[in-house]
């Protein structure tokens, strides 16, 4: 089957504005979903879950969130790590304070808590813009990490200062704790990714998404069409933080199980998620996934290549990782500021014309 839109005539606005206007894309999307639900859970093991699938799914949520704020609404945030920490610690406090609360709701409520905190730190965005705002979000990053590190209430005064996720299950399946199976954890994260990506797509294609993009592209013109900058920016901060908070909660409860805040949610985390959306594509849902996949897979591949194959010391491989990530960021910004998503689109454009390019 050729990749064509020929023969597909749109007769309603609904058909014209659907997510995957070309049939082939729609089939591929359902195929990925089916593989994700019906195939992966049966073959997944600890290594693949820990090294690839769980981090990919969780980072995809975080980068969807940051993309809403930065890619769609144009507000650069360097506080993602701090907000993920809010999600993680909210989940911990909820799990320990209400042992009977379903883990699903623990994650959701953690998202709402983070949304509240994120909105608070988003308030300065009404007065300050651009780099100033980016730097201001660092205040959130450092302050929040310090708070969770220093104030005993947040880690229940544990001697190590760590937080550890108690075992919780959804139905018959253990989701958190050391005995949870990778398949259950994977499906749990998959569920969140699916719902949140669907919501992100809906939000960004409608009125609220257009109001974000209007603020991003030209805030003065946004005001004259009736967009209240206060509501547009704060809603972006709130929804973005919700996503990031959910990612943080999953990162702690499902993925790591035990967390030390200065290690797990430091400034590097903020940068990694930022890099995901730059490499993947600012203002693109697909880009959030592509960037997350890239940033998760690259260290794994490098480690396999350099350490396992070539036998180098891990620290040299780590240095190379920095060099490659940094180089790629610059490369992408120079060659294609819209990231992998744009490259993907260009490829599809070519494919639509293939094999007769004129």
């Amino acid at each position: 089957m050729l990749y064509r839109e020929v023969g597909e005539y749109k007769t309603s606005y609904a058909e014209d504005s659907q997510t995957f206007p070309i049939k082939f894309d729609r089939y591929r999307y359902f195929f990925v979903l089916l593989v994700g639900i019906l195939f992966v859970p049966f073959v997944i093991n600890d290594y693949w879950a820990g090294a690839v699938f769980l981090p990919f799914l969780i980072y995809a949520i975080a980068s969807l969130g940051l993309n809403i704020l930065t890619g769609y609404c144009g507000q650069v945030s360097l506080g993602t790590g701090g907000f993920m920490a809010v999600g993680a610690y909210a989940a911990y406090k909820l799990m320990t304070a209400f042992p009977d609360l379903n883990i699903f709701f623990v994650v959701i409520i953690s998202g709402f808590v983070t949304a509240a905190v994120g909105t608070m730190f988003g308030l300065p965005s009404l007065r300050i813009k651009g780099f100033y705002l980016a730097v201001a979000t660092l205040a959130a990053q450092f302050f929040l990490v310090w708070l969770f590190n220093k104030v005993g209430w947040f880690y229940n005064y544990s001697a190590s200062g760590q937080i550890t996720a108690p075992a919780r299950s959804l139905g018959d399946f253990l989701i958190t704790g050391p005995d949870a199976t990778p398949a259950a954890q994977y499906l749990f994260c998959f569920l969140f990714v699916f719902i949140l990506a669907w919501i992100a797509r809906n939000l960004t294609r409608g009125k609220i998404g257009r109001s974000w993009m209007a603020i991003r592209d030209m805030d003065i013109a946004a005001e004259i069409i009736g967009v209240n900058p206060l509501i547009a920016k704060l809603s972006a901060f709130a929804i973005s933080s919700f996503y990031v908070g959910v990612a943080g909660a999953l990162f702690f409860t499902v993925y790591l199980g035990a967390v030390e805040v200065t290690e797990a949610f430091n400034i590097q985390k903020s940068f990694i998620v930022l890099f995901m959306i730059i490499i993947g594509g600012l203002g693109s849902i697909f880009g959030s996934f592509a960037g997350a996949a890239f940033m998760v897979l690259m260290p794994v591949v490098l480690k396999n290549l350099l350490v396992t194959q070539l036998g180098w010391a891990t620290d040299i491989a780590a240095h190379f990782e920095f060099i490659i990530i940094g180089g790629l960021i610059v490369f992408f910004l120079i060659v294609e500021p819209h990231g992998l998503a744009q490259l993907w689109n260009l490829l599809k454009q070519k494919l639509r014309l293939w094999p007769f390019p004129y």
């Binding site: 730097v135 205040a139 990782e321 920095f322 910004l333």
Partner: protein, 333 residues
């Protein structure tokens, strides 16, 4: 004078000294920002890289020793020579100039006319690259840096101040690190030299012209690319000085690049475009965070230096978005 009062003065003095170093890093930011509108996140990593190179050259380390050993199975670490500090500093300056040329050729040239935020993100990428590159080149162990600046507490100052306390109070004099004093003096000299350079030399005038208006500067025949190399070289030099001072104080290691982050709130206070702003902002942040840690820190768990500067700058910005000395932002419709 009561001992508490003297302690407060001591805290302020030490804070101001630390502030001078913040100001020094901030200065590098301001220079690049004024000349090219680029918010150079890599400034702190440049300081780290410069300090690493300085140590490496001084001690005669083999660049990429780790990598060479891993690839060829050799065991090279050091050359047989060591360099005097002055020669090593001079060579490091050359390296930083080369670095500036590379940045211009490989990055800036291709990103002309991009939005500022894209350039900002590119410098974050650059910072990552340099961090890996510096560590790969010189190894990631903590290094001692000694370029002959004296350090340690000043006994003279301690003796001088010990008599200030009121009769019967326990006070052992104020502690001031000689290195900090040197750093303050050098930073002052550097600022003076830069001011003279930008006011009275041809390149300096060109620099200011570019800062005012890129297009107009181009139209009178100033080469933008030359200016960029120049300004990145200068801030490479400023980074070297900052890296030297900080490295001598607490060793050359990864955390050195984090001082860049400390310079950010300094910039927010002082405004991105003002050299005096960078200095005053640095002093305010330096003294402010030490005072806050001294008085409030013990009540809330300490280590407030991690965030105090940012929160201070954030609150400040909400009320005065252009910073202390920044030009007023006028939005035209």
């Amino acid at each position: 004078m009561s001992a508490d009062f003297l302690y407060t003065i001591e805290v302020i003095l030490n804070g101001l000294m630390a502030g001078v170093l913040y100001a020094l890093v901030a200065l590098g930011f301001v220079l690049i920002f004024k000349a090219s509108g680029i918010f150079n996140y890599a400034q702190g990593v440049m300081a780290l890289f410069a300090a690493l190179t300085l140590v490496g050259l001084q001690e005669g380390r083999v660049p990429f020793a780790h990598l060479i050993n891993a690839t060829f199975g050799t065991h090279v670490h050091n050359f047989d020579w060591t360099l005097p500090a002055v020669a090593a500093i001079a060579l490091t300056v050359v390296v930083m100039v080369l670095f500036a040329i590379c940045v211009e050729k490989l990055i800036l040239k291709h990103l002309v006319n991009q939005e500022p935020i894209i350039l900002f993100m590119a410098t974050i990428g650059l910072a990552y690259f340099m961090e890996g590159f510096g560590d790969l080149m010189w190894g990631s162990d903590v290094k001692k840096l000694n370029v002959g600046i004296p350090q340690g507490g000043s006994l003279w100052f301690e003796d001088l101040t010990i008599g200030w306390a009121a009769e019967g109070e326990k006070f052992y004099g104020m502690y001031i690190d000689i290195l900090d004093v040197w750093a303050a003096v050098i930073a002052l000299v550097l600022v003076l030299v830069l001011t003279i350079f930008s006011q009275y030399t041809k390149s300096g005038r060109a620099l200011r012209a570019v800062a005012d208006d890129h297009q107009a500067a181009l139209s009178v025949g100033i080469s933008l690319r030359m200016i960029w190399v120049l300004v990145w070289s200068i801030s490479g030099f400023v980074a070297l000085v900052a890296g030297m001072m900080w490295g001598a104080k607490s060793g050359v290691q990864f955390s050195l690049s984090l001082i860049a982050l400390k310079a950010l709130p300094v910039l927010m206070l002082g405004g991105f475009t003002s050299i005096p702003g960078a200095i005053v902002g640095g002093l305010i942040i330096g003294a402010g965070e030490k005072l806050f840690e001294f008085f409030i820190g013990p009540l809330i768990g300490g280590a407030t230096e991690n965030w105090f500067a940012y929160v201070l700058a954030l609150l400040f910005l909400v009320f005065r978005p252009q910073g202390l000395f920044g030009e007023k932002i006028i939005e035209r419709v």
